[in-house]
């Protein structure tokens, strides 16, 4: 058994830990917090509220696997929401164009941040920190006050629910309530699957891992390191645009304070999901479960009566801290064992 664990690749080992942690936590929630967590809809609601986070986390996992980081996605989410909201309401535009706006914002951020990081060799943290502040500031410049979108076509899309047969429950009045997910969840799941396939079965996907594992070696093995880094930022920012739109679809409003701290949650999810900050190790499925673990913990905290807002921040930070330290110890051990 131990030997099996030893032979696992880093990605698979960390993925296993994450999935086990998630299931233990969910079972724990069912046992200690009662029936609420047994209802399928509770689980689907976790998905509904966190669809955007799943998409953002996928992007972050990608840049982290490549050995970089991107903390601008939260700001981008706010900017996308605000721009689309302004466009849909003030300009009375149509929904498809608003989606294109979201993608364009993502692409723009990706191009600028990607070139600064890849071709000018500037620390990704500084670049994306600036990106984050730029996005937040721009959001206010686009429109200061938060407001709800009243566009009819958009509202229809927002209200669209995809029913899941056989998962419903009987409510207190004895009426059958079908279980449902929002459109955003479908988008998120498609992206998880696409990203998983891309990372596992394409040459580009594998070169992300190679560059994150050892830049110098990747270069010697014939990989274009700069372009690989560039692509990682393009994809991450595009996912930031898509995630931003899904967030917008869920909340249906524009506000400068939207998705505050989303970048931190996305990074935390990726790390909990087994992506190493040092690069080269990570798995999108793990990231998916990382988001679920994080939101389950938040739900547990909330339903345990610790509904004060600060508990969320503290629990996320302590989970993040724990996983970071574990990673650093695992890496130190591995290094020393290889040396011997």
């Amino acid at each position: 058994m131990l030997k099996k664990i030893k032979n696992m690749t880093d990605s698979n080992l960390l993925l296993t830990i994450t999935i086990v942690v998630f299931f233990l936590m969910y079972i724990g929630a069912i046992v200690f917090q009662g029936k609420g967590f047994l209802k399928p809809q509770t689980f689907f609601n976790i998905l509904n509220t966190n669809a955007a986070l799943i998409i953002l986390s996928c992007g972050l996992s990608l840049v982290m696997i490549t050995g970089g980081i991107d903390i601008s996605v939260g700001g981008m989410t706010a900017l996308v929401s605000m721009c689309c909201a302004v466009y849909l309401d003030y300009k009375g535009g149509n929904v498809v164009v608003s989606m294109l706006i979201a993608l364009a914002i993502g692409l723009g951020f990706g191009l600028v941040q990607g070139s600064l990081v890849a071709f000018l060799d500037i620390q990704p943290f500084i670049v994306t920190l600036a990106g984050m502040f730029f996005a937040r500031g721009m959001t206010t410049i686009v429109n200061t006050n938060p407001f709800n979108v009243e566009n009819a076509a958009f509202k229809a899309l927002k209200e669209t629910r995809i029913l899941i047969p056989g998962m419903g429950s009987i409510n207190k009045k004895g009426v059958y309530v079908p279980a449902y997910v929002e459109i955003g969840v479908v988008v998120a799941l498609i992206i998880v699957i696409l990203m998983f396939i891309m990372l596992k079965w394409t040459k580009l996907g594998r070169s992300f891992y190679a560059v994150g594992g050892n830049k110098q070696s990747a270069l010697m093995l014939g990989i274009n390191v700069k372009m690989t880094k560039f692509y990682s930022h393009i994809i991450c920012s595009m996912l930031g645009g898509i995630g931003g739109y899904v967030y917008f679809l869920h909340v249906g409003s524009g506000a400068a304070t939207h998705a505050q701290g989303a970048e931190m949650n996305a990074i935390a999810s990726s790390i909990i999901g087994g992506t190493m900050l040092t690069g080269g190790v990570g798995n999108i499925i793990g990231t998916f479960f990382g988001v679920l673990s994080l939101s389950t913990i938040q739900n547990i905290v909330a339903s345990a009566g610790l509904d004060q807002a600060w508990w969320t921040g503290i629990t996320i930070a302590s989970m993040l801290c724990l996983f970071l330290v574990v990673q650093s110890i695992v890496m130190a051990r591995k290094k020393s064992s290889i040396k011997k």
Binding site: T9, D10, W201, K203, G213, N214, A218, M220, G280
Partner: protein, 504 residues
């Protein structure tokens, strides 16, 4: 081109600003041959290999390859790969986080889709045929260094290379692993691959190679069949001294031997460190100059690093003037009066952006303590004193050390340790990469300090220098102390035969 040759180099020249790294070197490699490329530091081995692999472009000369009409031009590592020249470097240039199979195939085709099944099957076949104990799906990082090295070779073989260059592949392998590697090399040889083998280990050369080409100072010394060149001769060719001339060139100003039977200043017993040297004993007397010698990679630097506590010490006891002391980290050694000028000036010696003055006072300042900084006036006094005493050429005491020449940087580091007035000073390659004048200055200084009562350990790749300064030499081979020479034994012939070991 000769029959049977896969690679021929003619009259290769390559210079860098101020250095002629290669001057008219010829080299030829036959099918199914393991050919050792030998030479001391700066002989031009690595330049030659880099020319061959497209990292550098040659100034002059031709490269001929089997199967190509006329001279081939190699301008990048990719060109070299396409021409069938594969290289395995000392540092493993693979990705530890990917699987063995991926490392063998990544970056080699323009396909979009990764076909795992095909790749793993191909890798499995190749690994099996080369008898490499690794699974294709295994993560590379979980393999031993030797297996990683072999995977790199497998990648090269799978690319259908005709010439395989192994640049010091064995420096981080243990005996068993080396044997595995040799078996693989012999397999490849049987398949007709020409192998260029660069190593510092003489035993290995004689175990596995067919021919030896020796370079010295960027020039070709000669190409020899292995059976025609005994070890001692090889060492003498590498060092550039004919055996007969070398019997004794000890000059008059060499240090006198002090064997007064007094207790040594420092005694080290059973010392070993994480750097992987076999435990050794060592002592030094007041006013004595001794040295560690051996080829590069024999462990001489690791020994003095262990003495200074620079690498984590695993075993051993230390006595100063007969009393037990503890040396765990550099500051312990410094407080007990030891100074250490490290081998790698750039990485371990200078603090590049700081001024000459700050670099000089650093060690003494650290010993004096955090809350007792020297005043600016004191700092300048110290700096000026040593800039004058060692005639360091610098614009001012405030010039950043990185803008000085190598020799002057070295003098600054020397000044740093002289300022601490140590009882025992370790100089690891103080003369490497600096001009001749400064080399002589440093050697004179060593003898002067010793006559004033300082104990000194002096390490140099140039045996001449050590003979001139040391009264006792400890000989190292393969990370082990294999002998100690003094008195009449202290001559080139004896040193070389001890270094070479085995026959003599």
């Amino acid at each position: 081109m000769k029959d049977n040759a896969v690679l021929e180099l003619h009259n290769i020249h390559k210079s860098f600003p101020g250095v002629k790294a290669l001057q008219g070197v010829d080299f030829s490699l036959c099918k199914g041959e393991i050919h050792a490329l030998m030479g001391e530091n700066g002989a031009g081995k690595s330049t030659l290999i880099k020319v061959l692999t497209g990292v550098y472009t040659k100034d002059e000369g031709e490269i001929y390859l089997d199967g190509h009409d006329g001279a081939v031009s190699i301008k990048s590592p990719q060109d070299a790969q396409h021409a069938g020249i594969a290289t395995v470097y000392q540092e493993i240039t693979l990705c530890p986080n990917l699987s063995v199979a991926e490392n063998m195939y990544i970056g080699r085709s323009d396909e979009v889709i990764q076909n795992w099944a095909k790749m793993n099957a191909g890798a499995a076949k190749m690994l099996e045929s080369l008898d490499i104990p690794a699974k294709p799906t295994q993560q590379l990082g979980s393999c031993s260094i030797a297996v990683q090295q072999m995977v790199a070779i497998a990648r090269a073989v799978d690319m259908d290379c005709k010439v395989l260059i192994l640049d010091e592949p064995t420096s981080s392998l243990d005996d068993q692993e080396v044997q595995k590697l040799f078996k693989l090399m012999r397999d490849l040889k049987a398949r007709g691959v020409g192998i260029i083998f660069v190593t510092h280990f003489l035993d290995q050369v004689y175990e596995v190679c067919d021919k030896i080409t020796v370079l010295r100072d960027g020039k070709l010394v000669g190409e020899y069949e292995i059976k025609d060149l005994p070890r001692v001769q090889l060492v003498s060719k590498m060092l550039g001294k004919e055996l007969d001339d070398l019997s004794d060139i000890k000059s008059d100003d060499s240090a006198s031997v002090l064997e007064d039977g007094s207790t040594p200043v420092f005694e080290f017993e059973n010392l070993s460190s994480v750097a992987g040297i076999k435990p050794f004993d060592f002592n030094i007397r007041k006013g004595e100059v001794n040295g560690f010698t051996g080829l590069l990679g024999s462990g001489r630097s690791e020994c003095v690093r262990a003495i200074f506590g620079a690498d984590k010490v695993l075993t051993g006891t230390v006595k100063k003037d007969g009393k037990a002391i503890k040396i765990q980290k550099p500051i312990d050694a410094m407080k007990n009066g030891i100074g250490y000028l490290p081998e790698d000036r750039k990485v371990d010696g200078i603090i590049g952006d700081l001024s000459v003055r700050e670099n000089i006072i650093l060690a003494l300042q650290v010993m004096k303590g955090f809350f007792k900084p020297f005043t600016k006036a004191e700092q300048y006094a110290f700096a000026d004193e040593y800039i004058k005493a060692l005639s360091i050429k610098t614009a001012s005491a405030d010039t950043p050390i990185k803008s000085l020449s190598g020799g002057n940087q070295q003098k600054v580091i020397l000044a740093r340790w002289l300022l601490t007035h140590p009882d025992y000073l370790i100089l690891d390659e103080p003369t490497r990469g600096i001009d001749v004048g400064t080399k002589v200055d440093i050697q004179k200084l060593v003898l002067k300090l010793a006559s004033e009562g300082m104990s000194i350990t002096f390490i140099s790749s140039e045996t001449d220098e050590m003979l001139r300064t040391c009264s006792r030499m400890i000989v190292m081979r393969d990370r082990k102390v294999v002998g100690e020479l003094k008195g009449d034994d202290l001559n080139q012939t004896k040193i070389m035969s001890t270094i070479a070991g085995g026959e003599a």
